[in-house]
């Protein structure tokens, strides 16, 4: 099993109001089968043992489904691999002796809490601004009571794959949240269950996105390229159309 040594340039910041800056670390004897987060665990263990403050970073499931891990690795959100979260990125994709720069998501609406951890509650407020979905209470509905075509259900499911990690915001040169918001709007706008509140939802969520201070979408496509769930920018097109439609309809 090959071992590797890395130099890490990591953004360290004590709190939201601290200026922060890069610090360099060397980690030796890494296993190529480790995930990127396990590599950081090795570094943190070393820091704890020497009485230093460990690097703070978000993580939870480490299975690529929760959307917690969030770091920009050598300028790419979630690192160089396509369709991969940081936790699913393995060290075999790096070379022995590499210098790796690790930064937090950079966006005004995502203030840095500590080191690589940013506050992503603006996403929660956007979801809340979408309101509710009307469902009948009572016994569970029959599985096939509402027929939905295969193409539509596939399209809705692809949008629903969004894990809300914020890589789209991190990748966008304008720090736009359009891909996230578009995925959430499309997922419900496509399905019969989402129809009663279809217009209020898009208007509310787009307004909240503006109010949070995200930039606008200039259709560079960087978000789709960096999205760990490979969500298509076609959903942004759909959000735009839904937004115009809802406002014209009144």
């Amino acid at each position: 099993m090959a071992e590797m040594n890395l130099t890490l340039k990591i953004w360290r910041q004590d709190g939201p109001n601290d200026p922060g800056g890069f610090k360099s670390y060397t980690v030796n004897g890494l296993n190529t089968h480790m995930s990127f987060l396990e590599m950081l665990d090795v570094l943190n263990e070393k820091l704890v043992n020497t009485g230093d403050e460990p690097v703070a970073f978000d993580h939870d499931c480490r299975e690529g489904i929760c959307g917690m891990c969030s770091m920009v690795i050598n300028g790419r959100p979630h690192g160089p691999l396509e369709g991969t979260t940081t936790c699913q990125l393995h060290m075999r994709h790096f070379n022995d002796g590499d210098t790796v720069t690790i930064e937090p998501w950079r966006a005004k609406p995502f203030p840095i809490l500590k080191d690589l951890i940013v506050d992503r509650t603006p996403f929660d407020r956007i979801i809340q601004a979408g309101g509710f979905v009307s469902v009948n209470t009572g016994s569970a509905p029959d599985g096939n009571a509402i027929p939905i075509g295969k193409e539509i259900s596939d399209e809705a499911f692809d949008a629903a794959a969004c894990i809300g990690c914020g890589a789209c915001v991190a990748a966008c040169k304008n720090a736009s949240a359009s891909l996230f918001v578009a995925a959430k709007i499309s997922q419900l706008a496509l399905l019969p269950q989402g129809q009663p509140e279809r217009e209020e939802r898009v208007v509310g969520m787009v307004k909240q996105m503006d109010d949070e201070g995200f930039g606008h979408c200039t259709n560079t496509g960087a978000c789709e390229a960096e999205c760990p769930k490979e969500i298509s920018v076609d959903y942004i097109r759909k959000m735009n159309w839904e937004f115009h439609r809802a406002n014209v309809k009144g």
């Binding site: 050598n74 950079r106 208007v203 930039g215 606008h216 259709n219 560079t220 076609d234 115009h244």
Partner: protein
Amino acid sequence: MNSYLTSTLFRKTLAALSGLFLVIFLFGHLAGNLQLIMLSGDAAQKQFNEYALFMTTNPAVKILSLLTYTSIILHTLLTLFLAFQSKSARPINYAVSSGSENSRWASRNMPLLGTIVLVFIVIHMKSFWYEMHWGDIGNDLWGNRDIYTVTIVAFRELWYTAFYVLSMVGLGFHLCHGISSAFQTIGIKTKKYLGPIEKFATMVSIIVPIAFASIPIILYLRSL
């Protein structure tokens, strides 16, 4: 409805629509300008000056001109506002940036390309539009204001011709991203129309600037 008019998405849509209108204007302007190289000598001078007179006096053309000026101003102000707004959304830049790996150069540099086009428009309008309306230019043999000679003289200068041609390169890249982006913003670049829209955008962004640039190049070569 009020929140619609003040939304970023509505402003973007206005920028997209004004941009698309300016693309239509480019076709008309190109058709007019090609008269400079279709004919030569007295015939070209007579026809081009008559055309210029028509373009500055016809009421229908005047309405279109007003729409064009409005579109240029609206497009500039809206995109400037949006660009500054987006700049403030990321106060601290990344130490390592790898935009080239996830997006096209033109799509990331629209403010720069737009500025090139705007500077060109200002100089271009001073050279011809201003001169035609208020400049101290003589009349041709048929009694029309002689904007043809003004044009021919302007493109005897190598630097002016080169500036024109380079600006057209900027315009080409601006259109390359701008046209398909506008259709996406309006919301009609569906999977069904994606192919035709991308093809149309690529064709326009190559053919229109080359056709425009060919005029000063030919005029310059004729003057040698």
